[in-house]
């Protein structure tokens, strides 16, 4: 018996290895032509057989029969939960029980076929149920791409190309009949228009319900009857069996189902079957089941002596494997497009992203849970050693470096104030900036000595590297859409009409007509720089302020890191953040998000300083408010000042309130502070609810600024990032503020949360291009990420150098794929040639070549010509010397109202240059409506002649001669 059992075990191992080997071989094109389903079934059979013959052993492993019974019970619950999931999920996934869509499972398209004129497409199918009422057919629309060329004059062919971008849709006929030779007539036939209007990729063809359809064969046919002019072609997928990607839908009325409830059960079972037949679902379900079984096993065994120790290696390698797979899967959006074998691996893995994330999170959680004491002790020791060395260096500085000590001038304000010599004190206050400057060599020298020369040097190198990355080729790309607004504001401020006396300036409609007042502090900053540097039309001058703000953000980010992390970790976090592509992007454009980021970091840093200074007062139940305020007499006013400056820069700075209040709730013992925090938090939530649902008071008084577009930030957050991002903002960012990491929070817990955020944020990072409103979150996520990786590394080795090396490799692997591949292809360490060729960040808005467009416009204009478009830029109009009277913008956005007024009749009498950006989407609103007639007349004008078409048809310029 024992021999037979051993043989069964051996065969199971053998088949498991064979399946894995063949699967990998098959993936890399080494196919033996094996049917894997067959192999999987045999493997499953052997696995079950092994479990059966080893029941006694499993019982022994678990210890006692009570534990074994618990294991069986929990396994039964696990299975029960899976069954519940299988019953309910498919109903939500595939629609209500009233309908049944008979989709082709595991559909793999082998070709795409274009719908063309005079060629009908036919598909037959067997109806599996009564009440056939709809056919869903997957249609793919693709843009017709025309090569770039400058067109001079006009001929028929070019005219056709130009007309491609008008909006006449393709027309197709759909007809359906029973698939019998004797039946010639179609029972339904109708014409449909193909455009971009449908919401799903399945185009739905509805027809009268066929009540007796079950068991009958049907054939439907699609035929194009009119070719459209949408600039698109429409394709249908076909698999290797020649079937289109379609489904027949059977629809039941509630009345019918009431009379025959069994139909509901049948529909549910059909949906469940469909869900189960999909291979991805099978893998995910098996994986979820096994993972839960593993957790049950660990839970039952956790108290056993040495169990965790034995488990540790498996957890370590499991976690490492998970992280590696995530890193590979995250390459999906990057630079692997041309390497087919890599692309296959990445697409395969990224299909199981969620499974990978759960696997990694589980292993990470268990690993840290089992090692928390050891790691806490290590980290405590490291931090304490570092702090002791710093204290020692701080003390010895004056003796060791008498030259620097000479610069240690005192302010002496407090002392003379206490002595009652107020005039002298005021004089000292006035002179204090000079004292501050004179003390600078002492402060810097002491700081460098305390930090260590090497660390200070590396910090300097990182800042230099970042500065060169940010400033290199700063003006090589033209101003992009939103940067024109900054230019607009700077131009107005520089004209001399702007006054700071009225904080409401720019807030009321009549006085703000010519001025973009959003992000006012930033505009003032840029204006100062352009004033010093001389020219507000220079792209470099407009952008350099963001570069400076970026460097200051890095400095304060480092200071913030040093409050929590060890030096090496802080430097690594700083380096990765300094080359993080969103940071680079926002620090290179003339927009106020760089200021928002800086202010958020500074205020966070000041809050932590406040907490550090006040710890002695805050830890007691009673509070001495006077002493608390006195010990923070500089920090509090500066923070409040910056907070209000920040609110005027962007409303989202308000979010800083949440982590501060939540932190206060969690870590500050004093009851007064706790209740105050609860009160303020509740008031804020109330205010937000009132603002959102009842009365919109945010855009008034100080908060007002013309062109504010994101006052409804709740909705904005939800739309942009959905629920997980809300978690990040309200919850995780609060966790950044813990004072001493090891003691205040369980590693297992923070790792659990941060791995999730890291997966969510970095793996999907490239999809977050609209993340500018939440730029302030990224540095904090970077800290969490680096710290998490460090914790992981701590579990693998006690060797510090090795830890740093692994940390760097993992950091590069997990966070910096995008920078290395795209931003800094050459000269990684000291410059970053961002140019047209690199197409930084894939952002389309920078790739319009406005200079080319306007030079062609200028060539084709004379004194009487009118320039018309929906997105014309006054910056270029001025640059090319086009009079404002010659410009007519056929849209009015809330942010810019400039336009000249012409009636349609007047326009008809003028020579027109019409500029069209077909790929820029315009949302119709009330402002636009009055100009739509003008637009329709010009855009659909049959006499328009194309004079320029940019690459991929992104910009078109037409000439329309007066009648």
């Amino acid at each position: 018996m024992s021999k037979l059992r051993s043989l069964i075990e051996f065969l199971t191992i053998g088949f498991l290895l064979s399946t894995i080997t063949l699967f990998i071989g098959n993936f890399f094109g080494f196919s033996l032509g094996i049917n894997f389903d067959f192999l999987f079934r045999i493997l499953t059979g052997f696995m079950l057989l092994t479990l059966l013959v080893n029941l006694k052993n499993i019982k022994n492993i678990l210890g006692s029969s009570t534990v074994f019974n618990k294991f069986l019970l929990l396994t039964a619950i696990n299975i029960f939960l899976l069954v519940l999931f299988l019953l309910f999920y498919p109903i939500f996934h595939f629609g209500s029980p009233l309908i049944f869509e008979d989709r082709i499972v595991n559909y793999k398209a082998s070709q795409e076929r274009e719908i063309v004129l005079e060629e009908s497409i036919r598909q037959n199918f067997l109806a599996k149920s009564n009440n056939l009422g709809t056919i869903g057919l997957k249609l793919i629309s693709k843009d017709i791409i025309i090569d770039a060329q400058i067109i001079e004059g006009i001929n028929e062919e070019e005219k056709t190309k130009a007309e491609l971008f008008s909006e006449k849709p393709d027309k197709i006929v759909f007809r359906i009949k029973e698939d019998k030779e004797e039946i010639k007539d179609y029972f339904y036939e109708n014409t449909y228009e193909l455009n971009q209007g449908w919401q799903t990729d399945y185009f739905l063809f509805g027809f009268p319900i066929q009540y007796e359809s079950e068991g009958r064969s049907y054939i439907f046919e699609i035929e194009q009857i009119e070719e459209g002019e949408t600039g698109k072609v429409f394709l249908i997928e076909r698999n290797s069996q020649g079937n289109f990607n379609f489904y027949p839908r059977y629809v039941y009325s509630l009345k019918e189902l009431k009379s025959d409830y069994q139909q509901i059960l049948l529909n549910i079972s059909r949906k469940t079957n469909q869900f189960l037949e999909e291979k991805n679902n099978q893998v995910n379900l098996i994986f979820a089941f096994l993972l839960i079984e593993f957790l049950i096993f660990v839970f039952l065994k956790k108290d056993e002596k040495n169990f965790i120790k034995k488990l540790n290696p498996y957890l370590k390698y499991g976690l490492l494997l998970g992280l590696l797979l995530i890193a590979i899967a995250s390459l999906k959006v990057d630079f692997i497009e041309h390497i087919i074998s890599l692309k296959n691996i990445v697409s395969f893995l990224s299909a199981y992203n969620l499974t990978l994330a759960f696997f990694t999170i589980t292993f990470c959680f268990l690993l840290f849970y089992s090692n928390k004491k050891k790691v806490e002790k290590d980290l405590e020791g490291e931090k304490k050693r570092e702090e002791d060395i710093e204290k020692k260096r701080d003390k010895e500085f004056d003796k060791k470096f008498p030259f620097f000590a000479w610069f240690n001038f005192g302010y002496g304000i407090g002392k003379v104030w206490e002595e009652g010599r107020y005039f002298l004190a005021i004089g000292k206050i006035i002179a204090s900036p000079l004292v501050w400057l004179a003390r600078l060599p002492y402060v810097l020298g002491r700081w460098v000595h305390r930090e260590g020369v090497w660390h200070a040097l590396i910090l300097l190198l990182i800042l230099l590297n970042s500065f060169f990355i940010l400033v290199n080729n700063l003006d090589i790309l033209p101003l992009q859409n939103d940067e024109f607004l900054t230019w607009d504001a700077v131009k107005y401020i520089s004209s001399g009409n702007f006054s700071l006396t009225d904080l409401k300036y720019g807030s009321d409609w009549s006085s703000a007509e010519h001025f973009y007042s959003r992000g006012l502090p930033y505009s003032l900053g840029v204006s100062s720089f352009t004033y010093i540097l001389g020219d507000y039309n220079s792209i470099f001058n407009l952008r350099i302020f963001s570069v400076i703000l970026g460097i200051f953000s890095l400095i304060f980010f480092y200071l913030f890191c040093r409050l929590h992390l060890q030096k090496t970790l802080s430097l690594i976090a700083l380096y990765f953040f300094s080359i993080f592509y969103l940071f680079v992007y926002h620090s290179r454009v003339s927009r106020f998000y760089s200021l928002l980021l800086l202010l958020f970091i500074i205020i966070s840093y000041l809050f932590m300083l406040f907490y550090k200074n006040s710890y002695a007062y805050l830890k007691n139940k009673e509070i001495n408010l006077k002493r608390l305020l006195l010990s923070n007499k500089i920090i509090i006013p500066i923070s409040i000042f910056l907070f209000f400056i920040g609110l005027k820069t962007h409303y989202n700075l308000f979010f800083i309130i949440f982590p501060i209040l939540i932190f206060s709730l969690i870590y500050i013992k004093n009851k007064f502070i706790k209740w105050m925090s609860i009160l303020v938090l509740s008031m804020i939530f109330m205010a937000m609810i009132i603002n959102y649902y009842f009365y919109n008071f945010f855009p008034s008084w100080y908060f007002n600024s013309y062109g504010s577009i994101n006052i409804h930030f709740l909705e904005q957050i939800y739309n942009l990032f959905n629920f997980p991002m809300i978690l990040l903002i309200f919850f995780i960012s609060a966790l950044i503020y813990f004072k001493v990491l090891p003691k205040s929070i369980q590693f297992s817990y923070i790792t659990f949360v941060s791995i999730f955020s890291f997966f969510l944020f970095f793996v999907n990072g490239r999809a977050f291009h609209d993340s500018r409103y939440f730029i302030f979150l990224f540095p904090f996520l970077m800290i969490i990420l680096i710290f998490t990786i460090y914790l992981i590394v701590k579990n693998y080795t006690n060797n510090k150098t090795l830890s740093v090396v692994i940390l760097l490799i993992m950091g590069v692997l997990l966070t910096n794929k995008a920078q290395i591949a795209f931003v800094c292809k050459e000269n990684l360490f000291f410059s970053c040639p961002i140019s047209d060729e690199t197409r930084i960040f894939g952002l389309d808005r920078w790739n319009y070549g406005y200079d080319k467009i306007y030079s062609i416009i200028k060539e084709n204009m004379n004194e009487d010509t009118l320039l018309v478009g929906r997105s014309l830029n006054p910056y270029y109009r001025e640059k090319y010397g086009i009079s404002p009277e010659q410009e007519y913008i056929v849209s009015r956005t809330a942010e810019r109202l400039r336009h000249t007024n012409y009636s349609l009749e007047e326009i008809k009498k003028k020579d027109i240059i019409l500029v069209v950006y077909p790929q820029i989407v315009y949302t119709a609103n009330n402002y636009l409506q009055e100009y739509e007639d003008v637009w329709d007349y010009l855009y659909n004008n049959e006499d328009k002649q194309i004079i320029y078409q940019s690459e991929e048809g992104k910009a078109l310029i037409f000439r329309i001669e007066k009648k």
């Binding site: 051993s6 051996f10 053998g14 020649g242």
Partner: protein, 194 residues
């Protein structure tokens, strides 16, 4: 035969490699001769292949399980198995390219009649005829038959009125003008039939 865990893994790995070598050196050539040379059937179904592979694997697993490990698994043996696996994999990869190239040509495996008269329908079974939406042509020597039905594995053709009666070769020519193997076919005089 209670093998230690790592010994089981080692034995299993060697068994898999042996099975792969055996499969590549015996089953694949057999498949080639049966499907491409002697035209016994168009292809070996994946289920049959899987069954054969699993049978080979199981037999080798059982043999290795009951054999005495030290005697068989010497270092020399390991090296030989790995080299053989590498060589067979390399050869198999080359063969797959060649086999893929072969699958671009139509091939006839059977014809419903060895002869025909005008208007008679002939079912031609084979492979690689091309998809339904890309029908090709059917010839007996220079006479072109009318294609009634076209699919990758079956073509139904109708014989036209011939210019003469003779024994010739029947070909299928696909959409890309690639010709299949010839099949003996006689165009008969309807008058000669009783």
């Amino acid at each position: 035969m209670n093998l230690p865990f790592w010994e089981k893994i080692k034995t299993a790995v060697i068994s898999i490699l042996e099975a792969v070598i055996f499969y590549i050196l015996v089953v694949i050539p057999a498949e080639y001769f049966l499907t491409e040379r002697f035209l016994v059937f168009p292809f070996l179904p994946p289920d049959v292949k899987t069954f054969i592979f699993i049978a080979i694997l199981t037999i080798i697993f059982v043999i290795n399980f009951f054999s005495i490990p030290p005697k068989r698994f010497s270092w020399l043996f390991f090296i030989i198995v790995f080299i053989l696996t590498g060589l067979s994999a390399f050869g198999y990869k080359k063969y797959l390219n060649y086999y893929g190239e072969l699958q671009t040509y139509p091939k006839i495996y059977s014809v419903s009649h060895e002869w025909g008269i005008q208007a008679s329908l002939i079912n031609i079974e084979g492979k690689n005829f091309g998809p339904t939406w890309q029908p090709g042509r059917v010839f007996v020597n220079e006479i072109e038959f009318r294609v009634i039905f076209w699919s990758p594995y079956l073509v139904v053709a109708e014989q036209p009125i011939p210019s003469g009666f003779f024994k010739g070769k029947l070909y299928v020519q696909d959409f890309d003008n690639k010709r299949s193997n010839g099949w003996e076919f006689e165009i008969k005089d309807p008058g000669s039939l009783e």
